[in-house]
C-alpha cells in the first residue's frame, strides 16, 4: 500500500508530499534549498533551526504569515514564498 500523499501549491506550483509533512519539508520537495523568503536586502532565506526559533522560514500560508517548520501541510494549501 502506498503512503498517503496530499497536494499543495507553493508559489502556484503543485507539490505532492507525504501526509504529515511540514511546510518546511514541502519547500525542499519543491526544489533546491527550500527557500522560504528573502531578507530585506534580497538574500534567500531557508528553514534553519527547524523548531520555530530562528524565524528564517516565514512564509505566507493561505494568506497568513506562518513558520514553515511549524506548519503541517494540508490538502489544497497555498504557500507563497515571495512577500
Amino acid at each position: 500500500m502506498s503512503t498517503p500523499v496530499l497536494l499543495l501549491h507553493i508559489d502556484g506550483q503543485p507539490v505532492r508530499v507525504k501526509t504529515g509533512s511540514s511546510v518546511a519539508a514541502a519547500l525542499r520537495v519543491a526544489g533546491g534549498m527550500g527557500v522560504a523568503r528573502s531578507s530585506v536586502t534580497g538574500q534567500p532565506r531557508a528553514p534553519f533551526c527547524g523548531m520555530g526559533v530562528c524565524q528564517e522560514c516565514r512564509v505566507l500560508i493561505d494568506g497568513r504569515q506562518r513558520l514553515a517548520c511549524q506548519a503541517v501541510c494540508a490538502e489544497g494549501m497555498r504557500v507563497e514564498t515571495s512577500e
Partner: protein, 367 residues
C-alpha cells in the same frame, strides 16, 4: 595613541560624545565592554518630549541635530522621518493635544492637530472612535546600534575604540581595566548607561526594565510612529509597573511594539504577563495587530534618574570625570544634544542651551 579624552561606553550616548569631542578637535579613546545596553534594546525613536522645559530644550536641540546628520547616515542606520502621532483617545486627551501643540509652538516646533476623520485617513489601522491626534512631523526613528557605530566612524583617526572592561575609576581619575592594565587621559566621560553605577555607586540611577516585540514585515500597515497621549502619565510614574501604546513602522515593514516599565528588577527574561499587558494595550489601539505574526520579543534596562533628566556635566568630586548618564528611555533622541552640551562644557565653549538643569545632582557625598 595619546588620548585627550577617554569615553567609557560605545552606546549611542558615548558614541555621540566621542563624535562631538572629535569635532571639537580632541583625540578620543572609547572603551567598551561589549556587554550591550539600552542602545541595542530600545526603540530608536527621535521624539520631542515636553514634560518640562529642560527635557524640551534637550530633545528639541537633539532632534534638530539628528535631522542634520540624517542625510549623511548610511542605510544601515535605518533613519526614517516618519514623524510622531500623539493619539488622543477621548476629548480630555484631545484637549491635552491642544495644550501640547501650544507648548511646542512656543518653542518653534512644528505640529498639526488631526481631528477624528483626519486621523482615520492618516492611519486607517487605528480603531474607530479615537478623538484625534497631534502630528509632530520633525520626529523620526533610526536603528541605534548602527547609528552609534556610524557616529564613531565619523571621527576618523580622532576616535579609536578599544574592547575593554573598566573595573574601577581610581582616585586620581585613572582607569583600571579588567586585564589589569590602566588607561588615563586628562578627561574621562562616563557614558555607559545602566552600568555606570558599578563604577560610581553614588549615582542616583535605577534600572527601569522595558519589553519590546517586533512583528514580521507588513509594509504599509502604519505610517507614523504612534504613541498614546496617555503615555506621558503612564511612562513617568516613578514606581509601579506600567504599559503604554507605542508602535513604530520600521523601514523593513516590520512593526516595533512597546512599551512597558518595571522597577526593581534586573532579570532580562521576557515576562509573559507584562508582555501580554503591553500587547493588549497596543491591540486596544490597533486591533489588527492581533492577527500579525510576531518574530521576536526582548527586554532592556533604562538608566532612570529620579527627575527623569540625564546627568550631564562634571562629577562634583571625582577627578577628571564627566558624566553623560541617566538618559532613561530618551537616550537615542537626546544623544546628540547631550554630547553637544557635554563637549561644550569640557572644552570651554558656550553650549547652545542652558546646561544647569542637567548638572550632576542627587549624588551621595560618600563615594
Amino acid at each position: 595613541m595619546h588620548a585627550d579624552v577617554i569615553v567609557i561606553g560605545a552606546g549611542i550616548v558615548g558614541a555621540a560624545c566621542a563624535h562631538a569631542l572629535a569635532q571639537a578637535g580632541r583625540r578620543v579613546l572609547v572603551l567598551d565592554a561589549r556587554i550591550g545596553g539600552a542602545t541595542g534594546a530600545g526603540m530608536g525613536h527621535l521624539v520631542v518630549m515636553d514634560d518640562n522645559p529642560a527635557e524640551l530644550a534637550l530633545s528639541r536641540d537633539s532632534t534638530a541635530r539628528w535631522r542634520v546628520l540624517a542625510p549623511h547616515m548610511d542605510e544601515g542606520c535605518a533613519y526614517s522621518a516618519c514623524g510622531t502621532l500623539w493619539i488622543a483617545a477621548n476629548e480630555e486627551e484631545m484637549a491635552e493635544a491642544e495644550r501640547k501643540q501650544q507648548r511646542l509652538r512656543e518653542h518653534g516646533i512644528d505640529s498639526r492637530l488631526l481631528d477624528a476623520p483626519s486621523l482615520a485617513r492618516a492611519e486607517p489601522a487605528l480603531r474607530k472612535g479615537l478623538a484625534g491626534a497631534l502630528e509632530v512631523p520633525g520626529d523620526g526613528i533610526l536603528y541605534a546600534p548602527n547609528a552609534a557605530r556610524w557616529l564613531l566612524a565619523q571621527g576618523g583617526a580622532s576616535v579609536r575604540v578599544e574592547h575593554a572592561k573598566v573595573d574601577a575609576i581610581e582616585h586620581d581619575g585613572a582607569l583600571r581595566l579588567a586585564d589589569g592594565s590602566r588607561r588615563s587621559a586628562p578627561q574621562i566621560v562616563l557614558a555607559n548607561g545602566i552600568e555606570a553605577t558599578t563604577l560610581c555607586p553614588e549615582l542616583p540611577i535605577r534600572p527601569k526594565k522595558g519589553h519590546l516585540l517586533i512583528t514580521d514585515r507588513y509594509p504599509g500597515t502604519v505610517h507614523h510612529q504612534l504613541v498614546e497621549l496617555g503615555y506621558v502619565t503612564s511612562a513617568h510614574h516613578s514606581d509601579g509597573d506600567s504599559v503604554a501604546f507605542n508602535v513604530q513602522p520600521r523601514p523593513t515593514g516590520q512593526l516595533l511594539i512597546g512599551s512597558s516599565r518595571q522597577f526593581d528588577t534586573t532579570d532580562p527574561a521576557v515576562e509573559a504577563p507584562m508582555l501580554a499587558r503591553m500587547l493588549q494595550r497596543a491591540i486596544g489601539y490597533l486591533p489588527g495587530l492581533a492577527d500579525l505574526n510576531a518574530v521576536r520579543s526582548w527586554t532592556g534596562l533604562r538608566a532612570a534618574t529620579p527627575d527623569g533628566l540625564p546627568l550631564l556635566g562634571k562629577h562634583p568630586w571625582r577627578q577628571k570625570l564627566w558624566l553623560a548618564v541617566g538618559h532613561e528611555g530618551l537616550g537615542v533622541t537626546t544623544a546628540p544634544g547631550s554630547a553637544h552640551l557635554l563637549a561644550a562644557l569640557m572644552t570651554g565653549a558656550a553650549p547652545g542651551f542652558d546646561a544647569a538643569p542637567y548638572a550632576p545632582r542627587g549624588l551621595l557625598e560618600t563615594a
